[in-house]
């Protein structure tokens, strides 16, 4: 069945709200406005204002409230419009949601799902174009997901809500308009990475909004006789290093594509894992293609120069292959 990524997110939330009365949706303009990215259009009319709660612009406040409600026996889905605004709520996420189970000696768990848009590419300039998944993937106590396909957008929410601990779902803003077939086996786990394209010459490792670029790069490389394998991390914490190792044992070369800034990026963590676990399988230094380390500029050609692009991925792949 053909649908957009946005529609897949909507169906996932609709199914959760219909199936479990404990589930409710809270966030800025999720109700009357239908959601900034129209993922909750029609929910207010169907489920009522108690379970579809528009919030004031108080990110720290309503994310903290979401944590409290989860502790109080509900299953909240809190939508923080974008990762850019989640910075205001980081204290509640890091110091309460992530730490509580351990801090309370195992007494409490926080079954909260946080959804937020992420990434750049629409000329929204520096304050609205962040890609900070790596900040969240740094924190023990929360699971971090990056659905990059229609199937994952539809399938990840269920298991995330069933998880007794906090789960943060990053939806890249450029993916909402992605259109495609919903695979029959959309039900999925939230623990493993996925091989989106088999290959033997180099492993392109990526996640979220960069997956389409990595697949396009693999397409170009194939035309030049280079068989690139594309790995979609899906889960940014904990990283599925087993899938990475299996791929490296085959290709011996890797390029990590990550829209975050290079220093301390998720790409850096993936590279560290590869060097730690696959050192003797490496036939070339691991390369990475990240955003240029600059606040994302507004002008289109400057934003494009700052972000990872297909030509850069192809060049990096050729470099590690020594072509």
């Amino acid at each position: 069945m053909k649908m957009t990524y946005r529609e897949a997110v909507r169906q996932a939330m609709h199914e959760a709200l219909a199936a479990d009365p404990r589930v409710f949706l809270m966030g800025e303009d999720v109700g009357k406005y239908g959601g900034t990215y129209a993922c909750s259009k029609g929910f207010l009319e169907e489920f009522g204002p108690e379970r579809i709660r528009d919030t004031p612009l108080s990110e720290l406040g309503f994310v903290g409230a979401g944590i409290g409600a989860a502790l109080g026996g509900l299953r909240p889905i809190v939508e923080v419009m974008t990762v850019n605004f989640s910075l205001l709520a980081l204290d509640q996420i890091v110091n309460t949601a992530a730490a509580l189970r351990h801090m309370s000696g195992g007494q409490f768990s926080v079954p909260l799902v946080l959804r937020m848009a992420t990434g750049a590419g629409r000329q929204l300039a520096a304050q609205h174009s962040h890609s900070l998944e790596n900040w969240y993937a740094h924190i023990p106590g929360i699971r971090v997901l990056a659905p990059a396909t229609i199937g994952d957008a539809r399938g990840m929410l269920g298991p995330a809500l069933a998880d007794p601990d906090p789960v943060v779902i990053f939806e890249h803003a450029q993916l909402y308009n992605l259109e495609g077939e919903l695979p029959a086996d959309w039900r999925c786990d939230i623990a493993s990475a996925a091989v989106r394209r088999e290959g033997t010459d180099v492993s392109l490792i990526t996640y979220g909004g960069s997956l389409p670029k990595a697949l396009a790069a693999a397409e170009q490389l194939a035309a030049e006789g280079i068989a690139a394998e594309v790995i979609d991390l899906r889960v940014l914490r904990p990283l599925d290093t087993a899938t990475l190792a299996a791929s490296l044992r085959k290709t011996h070369k890797a390029v990590v594509v990550d829209e975050g800034w290079k220093s301390g990026s998720l790409a850096a963590e993936v590279m560290a894992c590869i060097v730690e676990q696959c050192f003797f399988d490496l036939d070339a230094p691991v390369a990475r293609v990240c955003s240029e380390e600059v606040p994302i500029p507004y002008a289109k050609h400057m934003e494009e120069a700052a972000l990872p692009q297909v030509p850069k991925i192809v060049a990096a792949a050729k470099q590690v292959i020594g072509k």
Binding site: G34, N177, H252, F280, D283, A284, E304, K312, A316, Q319
Partner: protein, 392 residues
Amino acid sequence: MIEFKLPSLGADMDEGKLLEWKVRPGDTVKKGQVVAIVDTSKAAVDVESWSEGTVFELLIEPGETIPVGTVMATLLEAGERPETAQRTPRPAPAPKPAAPTVAPAATARPTPAVAGRRRISPAARKHAEELGVDIETIAGTGPEGAVTLADVEQAAAAAKVSPAKTAAAPDKAAEMRKAIAAAMSRSKREIPHYYLSEPVPMRRATEWLAKANEGRPITSRLLMAVLQLKAVALALRKFPEMNGFFRDGAFQPAASAHIGVAISLRQGGLIAPAIHDVGEKTLEQLMLDLTDLVKRARAGSLRSSEMSDPTITVTNLGEQGVAAVYGVIYPPQVALVGFGRIVEQPWAENGALTVVPVVTASLAADHRVSDGHRGALFLAALRDLLQQPENL
């Protein structure tokens, strides 16, 4: 004629579906008037006209989805008459506003090859061990001359294909040629060489050597080369700037003189493995070391440590060569001493002319580390040492 195009109605909107026209051909339109309702992926939105005129043609039917910028309708400007106006064909999608193309910034290349330690990938090293291939003899074809898996597999295959050692030799020689080429071109690219030479009268040295060898069985006879090596090592004590490595933009003097001895291999190629601590060894010990080194070099069983840690190199053309040799320094070393052929030459001394065996000693040195003046003093010291063989 005014073309009314589908405007962009949002940051993440590339196309829109026309739901309803709010005007019909012949209607007049004022600035800011809503003329249509278009469904973006998020909501139905009123679309205004920014120009004034009378509607002439509606080119898109409700229900059609068109990309942003597509001509949807045409308006007649004041004074234009429908009869004379020219009909517009079905809309072709408007081209995207052009922005300058972006050259892909080159990804950061790994730091340039640091000479000395050879660049061998972990996988290649492991695979070589598994196949029992000596990794040191494999020239790299990977990035920056690194030895890669493919190089190991090719070398292993080559070894398997030709059982006779010599048959494999040409491959090995070709690979060695590549390694030498890489080192030499890097040297010429990075090291600002300066060259000096000095003729050295060798009568006293040759006489001393002949007398020394008289009392020795043939198996422990000394060659002139060891005298020359020892002289170089002793001279280096007063000129440390000739002995060491130039790495990461700075000179690192070596604690002792590990002298690389240039050895030519029978099937072609040249390597310069090191004799360690030459300054501290007797001539007899140096002769033993030299003999062993040449034998193992030619048998291809040198240890990798011997290959990569000489702090200076001496090249000696022996009896067949020419009068003088000006060599190319082996990076990361900073100097190379050359000895030409010992030749009988007329020599003026205290006004009298005699015939004396003479060798031309030459120095190629790295001008980043030492200057001609110090180089000349070093050669002079070498000249004086060679004329006191008894002190070597």
